[in-house]
Amino acid sequence: MSAQLTIKGLRKQFGGLVALNEIDLEFQAGELVGLIGPNGSGKTTLLNIIGGYYAPTAGTVHFEGHRINGLAPSRLARLGIGRSFQVTKVFQRLSVLENMQVSALTDWGISRREARSRALAILDDLNLTRLAEERAGRLSGGQAKLLEFGRIMMLEPKLVLLDEPFGGVHPELKRFMYDTIRAWNARGVTIILISHDMGSIFGLCRRVVTLSYGDIIADGDPEVVRSDPAVLEAYLGDHHAA
């Protein structure tokens, strides 16, 4: 079976700093993959290249057989690639409902009424209906993260890139987010998840990719990756790995 997302020889340099070093990765449709690594290992850079925010220095990214590196983020969103950001990018002065409708309305075939009813249905799933008319700037950090989830759901994505979605989120809300991610994945959506919360990564993902200084040092079953000496060394240093 051909992969949904194929990354070949991906290299990204910022001046003299090599953020990603000849990365090769494949993701099958419907996978739920954790992307881990110490700070500065290149995780967010990788997501930014897949999402169209950075152009790679070398290498290619193919999505469903089409080369996508070099395409604008807006184009990728319409191809079905949704993403969340480390620091939420909700539209503070727009209402929650308006935030939700933006992506649907980029499709000129969808009426405002349709976009609104779809948005309300998703807000209901996310328990955010009572906040629909509220300004997004008034939401708590966790609610804003949920709203970002909702906005991505409005895209009806095939691939979702989640960058630290659980940062600063209340444990109860986090559990709700886990359920949402699992439900998404159960519908066949591919998910690549970055998180420093190892409990979330190992609890949710069936495959974990570990980056360190721009290189892939482990890729596979979470239990195997967890005990991989290279991973332990990257996180804890030589002493603990031994």
Binding site: S74, R83, K89, V90, F91, S103, L105
Partner: protein, 312 residues
């Protein structure tokens, strides 16, 4: 948000009704003339607010765009003998195209860099018009045929009022549409908007074009009303007036910005006796409004009325 919108519509409606009956109250024709100029500034301030308040793109070239519309209309009428509406339209179209160019040129610029680039562009236009003496009569001023042959102050007053209202309605229609939502999404966060499929580049350029086209229309009408235009209408001082009008009125809403234009034009005439000091007064007023009422005078007033209405 809805309450503020309702406030804007109700307040705007009351002001419109007031303006429609004002000439019937026996007001001096001097003030009729002043208010007609006020409608020009209202349209200019609203067009600036469309770009700055809704898309978050700063520009100091609005007065220059108005001048471009004015000179294009006047010169095409004079040199090509086009009918007046076609000449006016030419000014609108050219200002729109130049807006596309500025929008494209400044796509990746933000804040001070964007502002400085638009100032430079504005000055290039003004200096070119001044220097091309043979074509534009430079600082001496270019004579422009009237908009309406034999039209009196009242005719111009109602025509400018009607055009301003129609243009504001068009702006509101655009801003209430999905395009308005894209504009605001871009203002809030460009990366966030792009991640949801919004064509940030296209809409930023379109916003510049639309805003410039409205400014071009305002300038064209103004030229055929005052019948003598000089490059000073493109000056940074004029731009300062427009900025103060939009800020004092409330630049996050095209209606408030337009009302600010009207209010300050009345203020400019009312305080004529204090000479240049009136500029100091308006500068201070703009600073105080930004500090204590960032939604502008009208935004604050109508917003508070709407909230009271909702509480009741």
């Amino acid at each position: 948000m809805k309450t503020t919108r309702t406030g804007a519509i109700v307040g705007g409606g009351l002001v419109l009704a007031g303006l429609a009956v004002l000439p019937l109250t026996g007001i001096q024709s001097y003030w009729i003339y002043t208010l007609t100029i006020g409608f020009y500034y209202a349209l200019l301030a609203a067009s600036w607010s469309l770009l700055v308040g809704y898309v978050g793109r700063i520009s100091f070239a609005q007065a220059a765009m108005s001048g471009l519309g004015a000179y294009t209309s006047a010169l095409s009428l004079q040199h090509f003998g086009w009918p007046l509406p076609v000449s006016l339209l030419a000014g609108v179209v050219l200002a729109g195209f130049v807006g596309v160019f500025i929008g494209w040129l400044t796509l990746r610029l933000h804040g001070a860099y964007l502002g400085l680039t638009t100032i430079a562009f504005s000055e290039i236009l003004r200096i070119t018009v001044t220097a091309e003496h043979g074509l534009t009569a430079g600082s001496l001023g270019l004579r422009v045929p009237p908009l309406i042959q034999g039209g009196g102050p009242l005719t111009y007053y109602y025509l400018f009022l009607a055009v301003t209202v129609v243009c504001l309605a068009l702006m509101l229609f655009l801003l209430q549409s999905r395009i308005g939502l894209f504009f605001q999404a871009i203002r809030e966060d460009e990366d966030g908007a792009a991640s949801l499929g919004v064509e940030v580049t296209t809409w930023k350029i379109m916003a510049f074009a639309t805003s410039s086209a409205f400014a071009g229309l305002a300038g064209g009408l103004y030229a055929h009303f005052v019948q003598l235009i000089t490059p000073s209408m493109m000056s940074l001082q004029e731009m300062g007036y427009v900025l103060a009008m939009a800020v004092i009125g409330g630049f996050h809403n095209v209606i408030y910005a337009a009302l600010g234009g009207l209010l300050l034009q009345l203020g400019l005439e009312g305080l004529r006796e204090v000479g240049e000091w009136r500029l100091v007064v308006f500068g201070l007023a703009a600073i105080l409004v930004l500090r204590f009422a960032p939604n502008g005078l009208f935004g604050t007033i109508f917003g508070s009325f709407s909230r009271k209405g909702v509480r009741r």
